[in-house]
Symmetry: C2
DNA sequence: TTAAAAATGTGACCTGTATCACTGCATAAA
DNA sequence: TTTATGCAGTGATACAGGTCACATTTTTAA
């Protein structure tokens, strides 16, 4: 289901969606002047992707830049045997495809909505052209590139851990860092991924993830509330498992 | 053993080492004008690190930028149990520590010379100051950041492979891509790492690496010549193992 | 509200690879 | 040359976690 609407916040031709993704609200582009914004907005398309819908697939030509306006998506690799390896989970403000300025490339992994997600896409050639002339944007992209390197290295840390306990502990800490919220004394994780996906983000099977989470909650490190909520009870002991 | 000499190529105060690392020869800095080069050269120290010598360690303050002039080094993480995970192998022209422009940080992993290696270091604050004003340098850094993301993602691909065969095949292809040379019809790998390090770059043990390499050579995919040379006999079949 | 589908939990089993312990080889030092 | 030291090869063994099969619970759709 594709839904393209004219933005109802600004009065320019920004191709926003329900106001959420008006390009004047995209942090990456906030330093541009009106001329540049107008120029870019010609190539902007904003739409909602339903949970489970592909945003792009491995091998797709990377000629569009994706900016997450709301919701969450995962970037992952599919194996022949059906397994998958999640690389990144992106939320509001994150963008994909801006690091290869002026370089042709294709997406190496799949992008898929984890929940109903609004995404703006812009023509990469147009974006590149403007970005390369704007030191502010270049620096912002570099800043994000650095974050992404760190993120990928974190994933390597997780995958190279000796045992499943350590992988799960590392995953939880990563998720806390990215999506954790404070509720009173404790830290709460409201997950948008299921056990299978947690496993594939940590490099273990669904079953092992289930067992380890139960084990952690028996140890009093966490408390499981339903399938989509984890309350962290003992951060220090969790860190000891690394 | 520290050896600092004045560059014998250029006549400026560039702090080069045996001429090899004269900062006028560093690709990253090639777009700077003479004023900027002179400015940066104040903070340049070039020295040789002997094989096995640490260049930096986990936790070291990242207040210097490292540029490899000649030789090879590895970036790796040490585990409590003595195992290590290699992240990157860098050679001539590669640099470390330039991605976090104007941001304080510390090195997350160890850097160690794989062979006798000449390295120039420059004061990061001075470099940042100049780099951030030079769009050409910023773009060069971004380009390298993109490579590094790809590199880290490659490593994830390797580590997330199902079985050891696939890990070894991926490692070989990676090494070919980075360091492979053509000799006649076949592609040759002159390694600067031992079996243990190959294992730690692929996410398997030394023994498994040994066994798999022998297995591959029995299959006729490769030919082992001593411990530091591998000749690729059948690239296509190697790729099939992914 | 009910039916169907998807996600999770759980026991039993199996297997690939880590680990250990040792031998042989090659390179460097004495 | 001989001796020492580190690296590589190899067989035996153990076990963590993958895989399978099915029960149970939760979510979604009808």
């Amino acid at each position: 289901m594709i839904s393209i609407k004219t933005c109802n916040i600004c009065n320019s031709n920004c191709q926003g969606f329900d106001g959420v993704s008006c390009i004047h609200n995209i942090p990456l582009l906030s330093s541009l002047n009106n001329n540049e914004l107008n120029d870019i907005s010609q190539g902007v398309v904003t739409r909602e992707f339903k949970k489970g819908e592909y945003i792009f697939k491995t091998g797709d030509k990377a000629d569009r830049l994706y900016i997450v306006c709301s919701g969450k998506m995962k970037i992952y690799n599919s194996f022949a045997d059906g397994r998958e390896q999640i690389f990144y989970i992106y939320g509001s403000g994150d963008f994909i495809g801006a690091f290869n300025l002026l370089k042709e490339d294709e997406y190496k992994y799949n992008g898929e909505a984890l929940e109903d997600t609004v995404i703006s896409t812009l023509t990469k050639s147009k974006f590149d052209e403007i970005a390369i002339k704007s030191p502010t944007i270049t620096l912002k992209i570099l800043e994000k590139a650095y974050e992404r390197i760190r993120h990928a290295e974190d994933l390597v840390d997780r995958l190279s851990s000796t045992n499943a306990n350590s992988k799960v502990a590392r995953l939880l800490l990563k998720l806390i860092q990215s999506f954790g919220t404070k509720e009173g004394n404790s830290i709460v994780l409201n997950l948008s991924i299921n056990r299978e996906e947690m496993g594939s983000y940590a490099g273990i099977s669904r079953e092992t993830m289930t067992r380890k989470l139960i084990y952690f909650s028996e140890l009093g490190l966490i408390k499981l509330e339903g399938n989509k909520k984890i309350i962290i009870k003992n951060m220090d002991k969790l860190k000891e498992l690394l």
